[in-house]
């Protein structure tokens, strides 16, 4: 492989990793606060459809991201109400959310676009090369000749790490997932923190979903997330609930998507099905490698019951 193809592969890796990174960082915050959300895939599909429809009707990319955020946040509130307030099982409600996500995005897409043959390509976020930086050999074009949502992850990841490990908010958040009763005894409402974390996660998954039709492709396709929400879930465990490692995991899985597409285009003798399942096989192997739950937040998945009730 020559320098140029490595560079192209790197560029594609970052592009494929971006939606995973958004969803994965959000889920990290949610899980740090003690709430596991299996419904990431649903959020992403809802975000993807909202963004596509918004650009289609308004031609405004920024508005598309804003709407994707608002709509997925609404679903985040519903998820939070069911799992935090009435303490429903998080896995079950997450599963329901996935079904609703697949259903509602597919239903509206067919009604508004597919059945009437109005499904057309939309405007997308264009590459925004950063002068000077993009001329760095090898890494320059890969890192600094991307669209704005990719750049967003460069800010998001360090920011997430700083918030989580260097601020009092981060301390409270981590405490909420480890020792919720200790946090509550400090006069901080665990329920509020968890609502915040869940809604934050839904917003980021919404952006990750929006990325697919308006930055990666220029079209919405039913089920276009293709399991990325689940891969993001695996990233969080593989990345040991640390934003920086989760980011690295995102790059790894992103590279499998990029490699898979590239090998398919290169027409190797490997059957295409093996290339298609590559991301899932790598995720599965990564799960096995990162086994053990010693680093998992202690109160993950457990509804918070106030003492003395």
């Amino acid at each position: 492989m020559d320098i140029l193809s490595i560079q192209i592969l790197l560029q594609a890796t970052l592009r494929m990793a971006t939606p995973l990174i958004y969803a994965g960082i959000g889920e990290t915050f949610s899980e740090k606060a003690g709430i596991i959300n299996i419904g990431l895939e649903g959020y992403m599909l809802i975000g993807a459809f909202t963004a596509y429809a918004t650009v289609y009707y308004t031609n405004n990319l920024l508005l598309a991201v804003v709407y994707a955020i608002l709509v997925t946040a609404l679903f985040g509130v519903i998820f939070a109400y069911l799992t935090i307030t009435i303490k429903a099982n998080q896995v079950i409600i997450g599963t329901a959310l996935n079904l609703v996500g697949v259903g509602i995005s597919g239903y509206l897409f067919r009604i508004l676009f597919a059945q009437t043959r109005k499904a057309q390509p939309v405007r997308t976020f264009q590459q925004l090369p950063i002068p000077a930086l993009k001329d760095i050999p090898l890494l320059g074009p890969s890192l600094f000749d991307q669209n704005i949502l990719v750049y967003g992850t460069y800010l998001l990841v360090p920011l997430a790490a700083i918030i989580l490990y260097k601020t009092s908010l981060g301390l409270v958040l981590r405490g909420t997932g480890e020792h919720p009763h200790a946090v509550e005894s400090l006069g901080i409402r665990v329920v509020h923190i968890r609502y915040g974390a869940v809604i934050f996660a839904s917003i980021l998954a919404g952006i990750g979903g929006a990325y697919l039709p308006i930055a990666h492709a220029n079209q919405f396709v039913e089920n276009m997330t293709a399991g990325r929400g689940f891969i993001a879930l695996a990233m969080v465990a593989f990345g040991r609930w640390n934003p920086v490692y989760v980011w690295l995991a995102g790059l790894l899985f992103g590279s499998t998507f990029a490699l898979q597409l590239r090998l398919q285009a290169a027409q190797t003798i490997i059957p295409y099905q093996f290339l298609q399942i590559l991301p899932y096989v790598v995720t599965f192997i990564a799960l096995i490698i990162s086994h053990g739950r010693s680093l998992q937040p202690r109160a993950l998945g457990i509804p918070f019951e106030k003492e003395g009730n």
Partner: protein, 371 residues
């Protein structure tokens, strides 16, 4: 706080009914009713007449004997998959991998069904079923073993195994297992002796539905009337208690996964031996995922999956007819599934809360009135 009083007074009403009746019939029907109501609102917003839509659905189920038998055919895999998922969920294992297990069972059953010659039908079909059970069971035991040995999260691992199995199937039917003619991405037909007898010509109804009902009943007996079932349920409720009581927690989880995947694999085998007679890449339209809703709506009671499997089979079959006749996208069915799950869970939690408050009220009342 004021918002809380509303549902509570409502759930006080429901608590007049005995708990068993609540769990098995009242709450599921209530959840389904509210789901259909919300879906009706969605239909109105998107410019459809919900009355027409639901009428098409009703006709799609009870319109004539042909559509009704199609519903039973759709219910068959759902009851089996739902039963399997119920067993895993009862054991506290989140098996989301039934879709892959269905494929694994169907693949192995097809392979056996093609190559098994010279045996009488009953024996051939039994071997094909066994192959389906083993295929699905083995594909489920992998994440089960990884969970107990390496504490690998089964939700993510089973989902990844879905994608992997579906990809492998696609490879098999275009490669090593492709039909001799090498035209379509499908296998050759299974031998005649491996095919399930039709019980109601000219419809496509075969004995698969009866087998599914029988399996659900057997699963309920295992779960509620045997030491194994007791261990599975105890592990699901509290693994620490189970361990303390001397139960083999890890073993229970593995067996629960074996049964769970086995039921999904059996569903795959019945689909092949009863309907398609061959394997192709899209043999399941998502039965493995529907099974989750089936199990949850039945409160993870295998007997209840007979009803909820029929309900979702009816929804699936009739939503396809609704799409054909009224051009209402059949994916509406996914929304209905998701909402039904959320409502049944929310309702049972709220009614349980009201019930426990009632008990608390009584407990407080005792010292003042009684001794």
């Amino acid at each position: 706080m004021t918002a809380k009083t509303k549902p509570f007074s409502f759930f006080r009403l429901i608590n007049f009914f005995p708990p068993m009746l609540q769990q098995a019939i009242i709450l599921p029907l209530l959840a389904l009713a509210l789901t259909l109501l919300i879906s009706a609102v969605l239909l109105v917003i998107t410019g459809y007449n919900p009355v027409t839509a639901y009428r098409y659905m009703w006709e799609g189920v009870f319109g004539n004997s042909r559509v009704f038998t199609e519903v039973l055919l759709k219910s068959t895999p759902l009851i089996l998959v739902g039963t399997g998922i119920a067993v895993a969920f009862r054991c506290g294992v989140w098996n989301i991998g039934a879709e892959g297990q269905f494929y694994a069972g169907a693949v192995l059953a097809t392979w056996v069904g093609i190559h098994l010659a010279g045996l009488p039908p009953f024996l051939t079909i039994s071997v094909v079923f066994l192959a389906g059970f083993i295929g699905g069971g083995a594909w489920a035991v992998i994440p089960g073993w990884l969970k107990v040995r390496l504490k690998v999260n089964e939700v993510v691992s089973t989902i990844m195994l879905n994608y992997i199995m579906i990809g492998l199937t696609s490879f098999l039917v275009t490669g090593p297992m492709q039909e001799a003619k090498k035209v379509f991405p499908q296998t050759d037909e299974i031998v005649v002796a491996a095919r399930l007898p039709n019980i109601l010509p000219p419809t496509r109804l075969n004995i698969g539905f009866l087998i599914a009902v029988l399996v659900a009943i057997i699963a309920a007996i295992i779960l509620f009337r045997t030491p194994l079932g007791y261990a599975i349920r105890t592990v699901g409720q509290n693994p620490e208690t189970a361990r303390y009581a001397g139960m083999k927690v890890n073993q229970s989880i593995i067996i629960a996964m074996l049964l769970s995947g086995g039921a999904a694999g059996l569903a795959g085998a019945i689909e092949v031996s009863g309907l398609t007679w061959r394997m192709f890449a899209t043999i399941s339209p998502g039965y493995g995922f529907d099974g989750i809703a089936v199990a949850l709506l039945a409160s993870n009671n295998p007997l209840g999956t007979i009803l909820s499997g029929f309900l979702f089979g009816a929804l699936r079959a009739s939503s396809e007819l609704m799409q054909m006749n009224a051009r209402i996208p059949s994916v509406l069915f996914k929304i209905i599934q998701g909402l039904a799950i959320a409502f049944i869970i929310a309702f049972s939690l709220l009614s349980r809360k009201v019930a426990s408050e009632k008990i608390a009220d009584r407990a407080e009342a005792v010292p003042t009135t009684g001794s």
